[in-house]
Amino acid sequence: MYPSKFDYVRAQSVEEAVERTSSHSNAKLLAGGHSLIPALKLRLAQPDLLVDLGRIAALKGISRHNGTVSVGALTTHATCAASDDLPKVWSEAAGLIGDPQVRNRGTVGGNIAHADPASDLPTVLIALGAQIHVQGTAGSRAIPADEFFVDLFTTSLEEGEIITRVEVPAESNQGSAYTKVFNPASRYAILGVAAQVAIAGGVCRQLRVAAGGSTPKAIRAHHVEAALQGQPLNDTTIQHAAAAIAEDLGEEVIGDMYASAAYRRSIAAQIAARALSAAAARAR
């Protein structure tokens, strides 16, 4: 497990990291390294230059102001799992990522930049309507999570752009939850469903649902949302709405030796129902 040869620099600032990567033809950014280092060791990734972001303090930490929670790109999953500022669905999902070692090293920015379809975080960010802030040679911009994830391991990041932080609305009267079926080997999601809901006047408001792990990229579950929006929240309405997730998953469902596409499609409604029920219970 020896990687091929590469150069290494430790960036002192985001500007320096942008400059280093954009001026190099085959550079990779190193954050927590929990996807990149295994890929290097297996020689699946063979960059000529690693730009280590690890010492850029400005990229770390969670802060909350004016109804928005901002999470630095280098914040670890362990920090997110322990956070009371984040919406419950995020901290809950973060606590289910990998194992303690992975959560202590793996970062928010590294995770979403990798865009692994089996990862938990993209699902959560789509459900929360996150804004992903990035910085590149042309300046800074914010990308909505819905548009950030493009395909398997593919994002809308431009060449040289670096994720700096992720912003989500702080949770007030909403309840949210993440329900996951694990791949028993990798501990990635075979299927993960994230849901956030508020209840007003006895009916469901502001419902946002997303699913990941079974599709090339995490998806927004619009059909589920439409079926439940404005409805009272009970087992019957939740089961009915959750069944619509089949339409949201569409035709491109992934299969592997632990979980075929057919299996994932079949269990999706129950997993969605559990996420919705848990979110509703927390909203009450």
Binding site: M1, Y2, P3, S4, K5, K41, L42, R43, D99, V181, N183, P184, A185, S186, I190, D256, M257, Y258, A259, S260, Y263, S266, I267, Q270, I271, R274
Partner: protein, 786 residues
Amino acid sequence: MTQALVGTSVKRKEDPRFIQGRGKYVANLQLPEMAYIAVKRSPYAHARIEAIDTRAAEAMAGVLAIFTGQELIDSGVGKLPCGWVVPGCKVPTRWPVVPVGDKVRHVGDSVAVVVATSPYIAEDAVEAIEVSYTPFAAVTDAKRAMQPGQPVLHDDIPNNLSYTWALGDRPTIEQALSASAHVIKLDLTNQRLIPNAMEPRAAVAQWNAATEEMTLWTTSQNPHPIRLLLSAFTLGIPEHKLRVISPDVGGGFGSKIFHYPEEIITPWVARKINRPVKWVASRSESFVTDSHGRDHVTHAELGLDAEGHITALLVETWADHGAYLSTFAPLIPTAFYHCLLSGLYKIPLIYGITYATLTNTVPVDAYRGAGRPEAAYVVERLIDLAARKLDLDPIAFRRHNFIQPEEFPYQTPVAMLYDSGDYNRLFDKAQELSSYSELVAAREAARAQGRLVGIGVSGCIEASGPAPSKVAGALGSAVGFWESSIVRVHPSGKVSVLTGSHTHGQGHETAFAQIVADQLGVPMEDIEVIHGDTAAIPFGMGTYGSRSMAVGGSAIVKSAEKVRKKMLKIAAHQLEAAEEDLTYDFNGGGVYVKGSPSQKKSFFDLSLGAYTAHNLPDGLEPGLEEQAFYDPANFTFPNSAHICQVEIDRATGEVSVQKYYAVDDVGNVINPMLVDGQIVGGIAQGIGQALWEYGAYDESGQLLSGTFMDYAMPRADVMPAIHTARTVTPSPHNPLGVKGAGEMGTIAATVAVAHAVMDALAPLGIRHLDMPFTAEKVWSAIQEAA
């Protein structure tokens, strides 16, 4: 004799160095001028090597040499031998590196060897080697491999059938089955497992050109047998010029018993280039080169009479041996399998047959339990189905057929003579520990709510502590299975214990020291256990088959007894008393005249006196060091009753193990904490097999589960709390009264979990599923049953 330490949970002497990261593993060794080996491996399961172009790789800076198979063969390197050859066995040719013109036969087969100044460069050079292959169709299924028209791996082994091994008289058993009131029939697979010891295999070799001596450090469970095989069969350096050291080793589970190509290649290269060299397997290499385990396809039938007594058992198994015969492969699905088919039960007639097939997969050999878990799984699945058929509680049905305490020693129809046991008491304890009747009541209540809750019971036997050497020889072994020991008392009274057993996680340094401390009456801290170095210890057979305490420990007892006798002789002479008038004072450390404790020689006096030799009895040799070889009279037969509870998530098929109770009878216990550690660790592995682990190949021979992203190991967070207890039925034939403890957890847990899952699904009419019980498999079965 005062038993001060034996039977107590003395903390492990070895842990401080492991916990502080101060263990010395093969990969830690750094020698001056060290070079590094990387092996080019086949990406194909079955292909002929047409040509190898090493020019680009050789031209790389830092590459010292590249070797292909023919160079090793031309220099006299031999084929890898099989150490257990059953009658009629065809042993396929296996070279350490496959030469050009010959075929690779599994993904991971060795094709070329790179030697470089750094492991990075070696890996770069491996990528730069160009190999042309002509690929062939592969066969990866044990049963299909011997059917006509399948790809043939070795031209001299038709139908890929290495041997057929049978025990018993088939017509008699078939007749008995057809005369039985009930016959339970079952087809099952026992899936392939990949051992995954925490430390990957490694080898370091150093050649001394002046003395023509080779030192090999290797991750072996048994350095002496490896030295013998290297000398006599593969490397050709004579035994007195070859030192094999197996230092701290991070787990083996059987996979580090065997003789592997890399421990031939590494010393061969060291001599060739006259530099020390190191090879360390990557985890990816471990997956495709360490011998795998299990992989049986079986048809079995169990007959019952009208009263529910077992009449006969027939077992027919296709055992996948992989591409070549690994060192002890033919032992596993033969004597270690069929000879255990009687389980805990009186089964008057048993017939078993194994078809040993070769496929385009990694060789299969012993893995924790080795044949015995496969046997227990077959017998116990049938027993469970029989109880269900007769609508009896699974424990009640087992009790109905148990061998009774007064029937020991019990001769089974499959060669084994069980030494001792009390299976009723074992299950009494298990029922008490688990509050069995309450468990059953809770299950019924859960079922009434529509929940899928199941209780699994297993009752397993193991033959541990291999083996009487005569028996092993008669069954096909190339070696004996005794164990050696030396107890060396130094002049200052400190003690070195040399053992041929090898510890790679078990805790021998503690347990063996406990025994000697009690035997000689010296404190633990004055005793050091030495193992694993052929230059330091007498020829020893190593560790596997739960043999270290029963065989290795017994050898140590014999040496210690000889030391004690000699000390008494010296004391009698010096105290001018008859030996029978002396008391060996185990607590005070010395010898005194009975009734007159002031007339005493301390342990130190006697140790020093043995070496000064100023005042020894006439004719007594100076020194205080005794050697013993212990050849066991029989196997030992530990047995177990495990009970567990699972619940299945109806919506996803996910199984969770909620409660686990294990009662094991391993005879006398030297260190209860170490035994618990063995049992609990074994249970984790057993649960792993039942629920997740699977070495899966596709039809082209690609390993689908070749990384930890795809091969599901059991994890701490999915383990239940495991409650352990013991009954103690000592083995009557070894001086410690011990039985093996290393493998029973694995054997019993796989069965217990399988039965719990089947019990949970029974209300749906599901009779049998094959392991592993992955969520999708269970979910699909639930859907089909609905």
